[in-house]
């Protein structure tokens, strides 16, 4: 009896790990944007939602093969990232940060209801049937494994982009000293736009992975948006490595909570842990204790 129990727990742990990969990818985009532009896109998960719809339409309705459909969806969310910055954030860059947060909150409402307007509130899914893998007595969904793998590849790609290119170096530098970027010959506005496009594209990549496992509907953003913000704050806003670690900690908490009770309790536990940790380390888990 105990033997079986442990195996299910192990399965939950591994599923938590796999889920953590997608969460880490989601928080990476948000963290990147926060680190560079100093603004929280509350509507980030809604951009993901549009990405999911894009794949759904392109693949399930228009029959475009999944890979090009995914690439097109990533391009679309990248373009959305551009527009969010260009139309909404850049006019109010000088106003209090909280206004920027609220403006993107307005976008959240807009994107959500616009999706409802366009596509209704039905739940839609890709209709892909991915096999379940068996390994000994453990079962894993292939979709989760694939999502984890692609999330890891995506994060490695971002790491290389940030460390090996000039614009990537500038993206890392700009949060450390905004003003002197001008002295380096860097056009901050361009860095902001590039960051927004990259952040938007990451939302698209996350959408590709989520759509493999979940139905898409206009309010799907609300189901993983809050946890993404919480991961970013827990890791220290703008701290990509912290966000990475926080993603796995929280996904394990959710998974184990869901294992012992219902999934919602997993989330409750994760949010509660978050609040408690914030009191111990307000600047995120990787900060030095004040």
């Amino acid at each position: 009896m105990e033997q079986i129990f442990d195996i299910y727990l192990l399965e939950a742990l591994i599923n938590g790990l796999l889920f953590g990969g997608v969460l880490a990818l989601l928080s990476l985009g948000l963290n990147l944007i926060f680190g560079v532009i100093d603004v929280v896109w509350i509507c980030y998960a809604e951009i993901v939602m549009f990405g999911m719809y894009a794949i759904y339409w392109l693949h399930a309705v228009y029959g475009i093969p999944i890979v090009p459909a995914a690439l097109l969806a990533i391009a679309l969310t990248g373009a959305m990232g551009f527009l969010v910055h260009y139309l909404v954030i850049s006019p109010i860059l000088g106003s209090p940060p909280i206004n920027q947060l609220l403006a993107t909150g307005g976008l959240l409402f807009f994107l959500q209801s616009f999706a409802t307007l366009l596509w209704g509130i039905e739940f839609r899914n890709l209709g892909l049937r991915l096999p379940v893998l068996q390994w000994g007595e453990l079962y894993f969904s292939y979709a989760r494994l694939l999502a984890f793998g692609i999330a890891v590849i995506g994060m490695i790609a971002i790491y290389l982009f940030l460390t090996r290119t000039y614009i990537g170096t500038a993206i890392r530098a700009i949060s450390q000293d905004r003003e002197i970027m001008t002295l380096m010959g860097v056009d901050s506005r361009r860095v902001y736009l590039v960051t927004s496009v990259v952040g938007g594209s990451l939302a698209g990549l996350a959408a590709c992975l989520l759509v493999l496992q979940y139905d898409v509907h206009p309010f799907v953003g609300l189901s993983f948006g809050p946890i993404t913000f919480v991961i970013c704050v827990l890791g220290g806003l703008g701290n990509m490595i912290g966000g990475f670690i926080a993603a796995f900690i929280l996904s394990e908490i959710i998974s184990i909570g869901g294992f012992y009770a219902e999934l919602e309790w997993g989330y409750v536990l994760a949010f509660a842990v978050f609040i408690v940790v914030m009191f111990i380390r307000p600047e995120g888990i990787l900060s030095k204790k004040s």
Binding site: P91, S95, F109, L117, P226, V230, E264, M278
Partner: protein
């Protein structure tokens, strides 16, 4: 009242009080009008719908005004959905499962709201969690409450919502259930007026100056002898309890609640936005915000019908973004600014 110094000149001030008195009188007399007047078509209860809208506006105005109590000092909470939810679900659950009359259930729920506000607020303020961080910590609170409601669906009905058990013939002081809309109209009117009075008291208190100083520069305020944590906690708990009360009113009035209508991030954001749209720094700003947002939603719903679900909130979302970009002080704030500029110029 006569001793109040009127900054804008006495004539404008007098007119303002006169206008206020007239509005108050109209609001009080309105429900007593003859409902069978043939003015509006059929002669049926033509007041029913406008009064329903007004009750909603007043209840939400109370919630928005409560939020603005702290929001105006830069304490942007995305957790007020949680306070509404705790108040509403707390009172309703106590009624259904413990048989407690709302007269006892309301104080218990509000005490719970205050306790939650304290538990989250104290460490936040003690450890200087401000700005984005405060917004996101309180957002987590919103989400916790919503998830708890979902997780305890055996009791709360989860996303399907929750209905307090009807009591008697639908008119009961004991259960605070009134099938007659007029009663609720007056309850909501009094609560709304009470909320404004609290706003006014805070606006004229020393705490206001302390909180303004804190929002300008926390270190300097602390150095100047302001007990930062205590000031922030006071306003937060006050704001939370009033918001919780608005949630209770909403529940008692609608006799139905669901996580989507009284908790979660969507409601928290709705609260913030209505205040921003109306005007965060002026007394009637949140009320104007409630009027604008509810009338907009209702008129779009009536004009377009349900065939285009989402159009109202689509427009609403765009307007919010435009407000924040072009009119950060809100409609009423903008108008008052414009008036005073015109007067000065």
């Amino acid at each position: 009242m006569t001793s109040v110094t009127l900054v804008n000149g006495s004539k404008w001030g007098e007119r303002r009080y006169l206008a206020g008195a007239i509005v108050a009188l109209v609001l009080i007399v309105l429900p007593t009008l003859n409902r069978e007047l043939p003015v509006f078509g059929t002669g049926a209860d033509w007041l029913a719908y406008p009064m329903h809208i007004m009750v909603l506006i007043m209840i939400w105005s109370l919630a928005y005004t409560s939020w603005s109590l702290m929001g105006r000092f830069g304490l942007v909470s995305l957790g007020h959905g949680a306070f509404m939810g705790i108040g509403a679900y707390g009172t309703a659950l106590l009624w259904n499962y413990a048989g407690l009359t709302p007269w006892i259930g309301i104080p218990i729920s509000l005490a719970l709201v205050a306790a939650v506000a304290f538990i989250v607020g104290y460490p936040c303020f003690r450890f200087r969690i401000v700005g984005h961080y405060f917004a996101l910590v309180t957002l987590a609170l919103s989400e916790i409450v919503r998830q708890v409601i979902m997780a305890t669906r055996d009791y709360t009905g989860g996303s399907l919502g929750f209905t307090p058990t009807p009591y008697g013939d639908g008119f009961s002081l004991y259960a605070l259930q009134f099938s007659d809309r007029t009663v609720f109209y007056y309850v909501a009117l009094a609560s709304w007026a009470f909320g404004l009075w609290i706003w006014w008291r805070v606006d004229r208190s020393m705490d206001r100056f302390a909180l303004e100083a804190i929002s300008e520069d926390e270190d300097a305020s602390a150095a100047a002898g302001i007990w930062v944590t205590r000031e922030k906690l006071k306003i937060t708990i006050l704001s939370a309890v009033m918001t919780g009360f608005a949630g209770i009113l909403y529940m008692q009035y609608q006799q139905f609640i669901s996580p989507d209508t009284v908790s979660g991030i969507a409601i928290s954001l709705q609260i913030v936005f209505a205040v921003v749209a109306g005007g965060i720094y002026v007394m009637f700003g949140p009320t104007v915000g409630a009027i604008i947002t509810i009338l907009l939603a209702e008129s779009l719903r009536v004009a377009i019908g349900v065939s285009m679900v989402g159009l109202d909130t689509t427009i609403y979302g765009i307007l919010l973004v435009l407000f924040i970009i072009f009119l950060p002080k809100g409609v009423l704030g903008g108008i008052l600014d414009w008036l005073s500029r015109r007067k000065a110029g």
